[in-house]
Chain length 236, copies 2
């Protein structure tokens, strides 16, 4: 029996992962091109690409079309405020924390998002990815979708305003009401594990929520991953 016969693309991913962790390639540094790397490992370019895909999934690498493969920077870049009520779960416990905005991407709604937000497919939506802290420790990672038709210039406002709830209230005169919340348990995804600073093979709480305003319009669809051991949702 050949115990070491892991697929090549996994072996290559392990090799590159080690190189990055050992500092052979530093943050934001450009790796050799796919062509060079596939030559170096003696595999086909497609096999190498599969290894790169794994590492992208883990959040270790990032690829820019036409530019190259880069080591991803650990996400500690755009803090936009402190002491924000970033979700009902923390509010329910009267806890507050801080968060960092990791990503702000405008997209066109594909079918699932459109359905959740009750808008048409293709309508403009902004995706936020936020990392929430409690006592300086990463606690949750949330991906939130807001319809841009209801909130024009949301991306602009995000740069200057501290709290999403506050922004909703003050700029758009919009309440932030929970319509529906689904809770399940999952194993942490590799890319989330790094950001949440938990080991692989840890359990997380997966909370899916839909929020609406005072007129019953859906204003947000969000998926939050809580560190399962640290977090206990309390329902009363």
């Amino acid at each position: 029996m050949n115990y070491e016969a892991l697929p090549l693309y996994i072996q290559i991913a392990q090799n590159l992962r080690a190189s990055i962790q050992q500092g052979v390639y530093r943050a934001e540094e450009k790796l050799p091109s796919e062509h060079q790397l596939s030559d170096r490992f003696g595999v086909n370019r497609h096999t190498l690409r599969r290894a790169i895909a794994l590492l992208k999934d883990e959040g270790l690498l990032r690829t820019d079309k036409g530019r190259g493969i880069f080591v991803a920077t650990p996400p500690l870049e755009y803090p936009i405020g402190k002491r924000v009520r970033y979700n009902q779960a923390l509010e329910a416990q009267g806890k507050q924390g801080s968060y960092q905005l990791l990503k702000t991407v405008p997209i066109a709604a594909e079918s699932e998002i459109a359905q959740k937000l009750e808008i048409a497919i293709g309508d403009p939506v902004v995706v936020l990815e936020m990392l929430g802290f409690a006592d300086e420790h990463p606690l949750l990672l949330t991906t939130r979708y807001f319809p841009l038709t209801l909130f024009p210039d949301l991306v602009q406002h995000l740069k200057s305003i501290k709290s999403i709830s506050q922004l909703m209230q003050e700029v758009y005169d919009c309440e932030h009401i929970r319509r529906c919340t689904d809770v399940s348990a999952r194993l942490v995804r590799p890319q989330d594990a790094r950001i949440l600073q938990v080991a692989l093979n840890q359990a997380i709480l997966l909370v899916e929520s839909i929020n609406e305003n005072q007129h019953g319009q859906v204003i947000e669809y969000g998926v939050t991953r809580f560190r399962g051991n640290d977090m206990k949702l309390v329902l009363r």
Copy 2:
């Protein structure tokens, strides 16, 4: 500008996603083989596989090497409301709920249990361990503590009655109302994994609940472990 020029593998994923949501393929049903699907969509097998990979990532599909592509079973929904009705929730989704009583042990309450049940240390309590099924598949494992002072002869009645809620209602004239529910995520314990028939290193939902009767007396403290992938708590 070509706005519709999404990559083929994304279009195919959307197509299949819609088919699943529309019930063209039902839970646990086998999809056509990769060969057949790539023929149908008129693309290469690799392109199709990429679409399948997307849907596997979303948890919509599952592939078994040598067998085929299958629609993953969507998680059961478990509404959390005031009343506690385990079987009704399942039956609402077309599942037959049933229970197996694994253990019935009368004990004297130690401090934690006494505190949760709001009784004195040493008071008589009965511990139930129950395995809950949905259509013959183990779904949850629950350990429940009932104060025997409120429910004399509970152990006797358990042998003849199927539903705890029903027993409470009919024998003790006692409502079964949710006071407090805590939800977190854990890795399954090895001994639970065997009973729940899940692999080790799987995530489970850990639900801790305290229930009271119509007079505000605590009648139950319970700890339930749900199969995380199969169950979704729904709060509305």
